[in-house]
């Protein structure tokens, strides 16, 4: 270590303080709780410790652990941290202009954990997010599912799966965004043919690995792109597929069925035309709500009623910001506009919580306030679907990552001089938050 002794001491002190904060139980008392799992609780108590939910229920029935830190939630609304199933915060990138199929490109290798957009997402109540590469490729790369903990580096944001790998999906797209000049496809049929060809290659690659039975001499040469597609074929990685027009949606369903991979449809501007087909395929949708239709030919028939129509057809509906397309700080506008256009209130709130957790395959850990799940929650000034409501606090794994009453956080929430400067992001942690949590929980999460 090249650190000066004083700095080492500071680091140790900070680490100890952080661990202490995790050790002590925290109780939020008196808020209206919308747990998503179950009916709202008029005056509830939520107790969290070691980054997990210890107890939840009506204030009358939940006893406070001795020595617990208390937060008075009276008059406020407490709900699970919001999950955004499609975002571009952190200024990440994926594949480049060299070709339409780049599953080897990882958003992991490009993301700036200190970008202002990440703190703005926290200000919007977002605690987990699927950060994707863009939609200009048939396959633009590997996405990352992140927890918006306080972060020095990208490592602090990662979600580790039981096998030690980073949680994430595969970004695919069809329609006009990925139809470009050579070497990109020029038509829709060519787009599908290229994808089909690639998945056949992945199937053959997987077959070679199976036949090698672990013999290194018989293994095929490593192919980083095909490795990822094999993960998709084996259901370990969900395809997150940008698609607008109804015929493009059906093409995605066709390919998914043909190769047996799990897929989520994103944007689905014309999903309202093929809701029954989507429902029959048991495929989930992540919908975006834009203030007006159009802006491109594929979205000329985008309709605010899509979430309601999909809900009615029995489709699992989530929402996304596509930040910077929609501002993460106003993510709750999306479910509210869906309710305006006929979606149930229950379905709309689920769409930014548990439905999105399912869409990312993380519903065992996040998306609702239940004992044993991660202590990710937001404290709101009033009803989540009102324009007058403010996100007051955002908590990830039992640690506060946003507080509207803090002037620095307030700047990111409302904007103002310096809010656009990523270099002003403040740092609370001197070590990986993930390591702290892992230590506190005695190993892998």
């Amino acid at each position: 270590m090249l650190l000066r002794p004083s700095l080492q001491l500071a680091l140790f002190a900070s680490l100890a303080a952080a661990l202490c904060a995790q050790d002590k139980p925290l109780a939020i008392v008196g808020a209206k709780i919308i747990p998503i799992a179950g009916e709202p609780i008029a005056r509830g108590t939520l107790i969290v410790q070691h980054g997990k939910i210890l107890a939840i229920g009506s204030a009358e029935t939940i006893a406070l652990p001795p020595g617990a830190d208390l937060i008075d939630g009276s008059g406020k609304v407490l709900m699970p941290g919001l999950i955004d199933s499609h975002s571009h915060i952190g200024a990440g990138t994926g594949g480049d202009g060299s070709g339409p199929i780049q599953p080897d490109a990882r958003v992991l290798d490009s993301l700036d954990a200190r970008d202002a957009s990440i703190q703005k997402a926290r200000a919007g109540g977002i605690t987990a997010v699927n950060v994707m590469p863009g939609s200009g490729h048939l396959i633009s790369g590997q996405t990352l599912y992140l927890k918006l903990r306080e972060a020095r580096t990208i490592d602090d944001l990662l979600i580790k799966l039981p096998d030690g790998t980073n949680a994430g999906g595969l970004k695919m797209a069809n329609g006009t965004n990925s139809i470009r000049a050579t070497p990109f496809p020029g038509t829709r049929a060519k787009s599908a043919a290229l994808v089909r060809e690639q998945y056949i290659k992945a199937e053959e690659y997987r077959e070679k690995i199976t036949r090698a039975k672990g013999d290194p001499d018989k293994m095929p040469a490593r192919d980083l792109g095909l490795e990822e597609l094999v993960e998709v074929l084996e259901g370990k990685r969900i395809v997150q597929n940008h698609t607008h027009r109804h015929d493009d949606i059906l093409t995605v369903l066709r390919l998914s069925k043909e190769f047996g991979f799990k897929v989520v449809l994103h944007h689905v501007s014309e999903g309202w035309k093929v809701a029954d087909e989507i429902a029959a395929a048991h495929v989930a949708c992540s919908v975006i709500m834009i203030d007006s239709p159009g802006g491109k030919l594929e979205t000329r028939e985008a309709d605010w009623r899509t979430p309601a129509i999909l809900e009615k057809a029995g489709v699992l509906v989530g929402f996304h910001t596509d930040d910077p397309i929609c501002d993460s700080r106003r993510f709750l506008r999306t479910p509210a506009l869906a309710v305006r256009a006929g979606m149930s209130r229950k379905g709309a709130l689920e769409a930014v919580t548990i439905a999105n957790a399912k869409i990312l395959g993380l519903d065992a850990r996040i998306g609702s306030l239940e004992v044993g799940k991660d202590a990710d929650f937001v404290l709101l000034s009033a009803d989540p679907l009102s324009v007058y409501t403010h996100v007051e606090q955002t908590w990830v794994e039992g640690r506060k990552v946003f507080d509207l009453s803090n002037p620095h956080d307030h700047l990111y929430a409302v904007g103002g001089d310096g809010a656009g400067d990523p270099r002003r992001a403040h740092l609370c942690c001197f070590t990986s938050a993930w390591d702290l949590i892992a230590d506190a929980n005695g190993g892998a999460q």
Binding site: S292, P293, G295, K296, L385, V387, V414, G415, G418, G420
Partner: protein
Amino acid sequence: MKNVIRILALFVLASSPLIVRAENIAIVGDTIYTMNGNPIKNGVVLVSDGKISAIGPADSVKIPADCRVLKAAVVTPGLIDAHATVGLSGLLNQPQDQDMWEKSAPMQPELRAIDAYNAKDTLVSWVRSFGVTTVNTGHAPTALISGQTMIAKTLGRTADEDVINPAAMTSVTLGRNGLTFAEGPPGSGGGSAAKPPGTRAKAVAMLRAEIIRAQEYAHKREGKDESKRPGRDLRLEAILRAIDGSQPFLVTVNRQQDILSALRLAKEFNLKIILDGCADAPLVLDEIKASGFPVIVHPTMQRTYEDMENLSVETAGKLHAAGIPIAMQSSYEGYVPKTRIVLFEAAVAAANGLGFDAALASITIDAAKLLGIADRTGSLQPGKDADLALYDGDPFEYTSHCVGTLINGQVFADGPH
């Protein structure tokens, strides 16, 4: 019971989308925001011949027997979008419907919105479906001088039928979007810097030179020897109208140094200007206030990048608190959403310091005053145009609906949206 009435009103609206304007209509509202005094609880607005003929509490206004009756929880004046691009910037975002940006030269004040406005573009009826009845629309803030705006009702007929003022303002843009390198998508590094203006200082220099040329032109046009007078120059005439105050410059500026440049120019040439955008306004509130010029504030939810990176949802509230006249706008979007809805932009401002009353004023009476059309729009008063918006709840709430819109007494039901 109230709900039944609302549903009934909705049904009536939906079943007869277009009504001749001579019809006599009574609008019964649980709350009527007249924007001329206190709101009226349980009030009535009478409409005849396209004008408001009476307004007041239900017990003081007799509804004539032959009247068509519409009911709503909330009634407001038709909304006014003080700076839009709808009708020029079309839904499809294809070359055939994008008339808001002429790229052939940096200064083209001779371009008129009325020569491009497509009253039948879907986006016009889209904004109307949220209660927007009047727009000040034109070329986008994408060139140093991009063209002249027009004020139109969102009736959706033709430019000539719907127009209120065919030449309201001339759009000037300082800062990044007024430079030629702004051409090209954000982050692309822009287009050719060889074509001026490539810098802020150059842009202002070009503008000053053009204004001086206009002044000299005016002087020569008044020369005694008719044979020596120059031929008419539409470009310079448009600039002269900002000097005589009949057609102000709508100056889009976001960085604080650009706001100050606009004020400096106005002072040097005694220009009448309206400030537009003003993301950095909180940094120069005193200077804006001292200038006396009003501000059409950027959309509250506009994206935060480049000159707008520090924009704040509280800016509208701060300008208002400082006593600076404001209006809200939908502005211009090159991608999605192809148009914003001024109602929503005002709503977020309302929730972030501006407050309900001032926010509603910023898209009704205050916008009307700023656009010089308060004699006929912006508030519900006898004699004014029968432009009204009907809602089933607080107009600013995300989950409320616009259940009907009246323009010149003509009923539209584009929703419920």
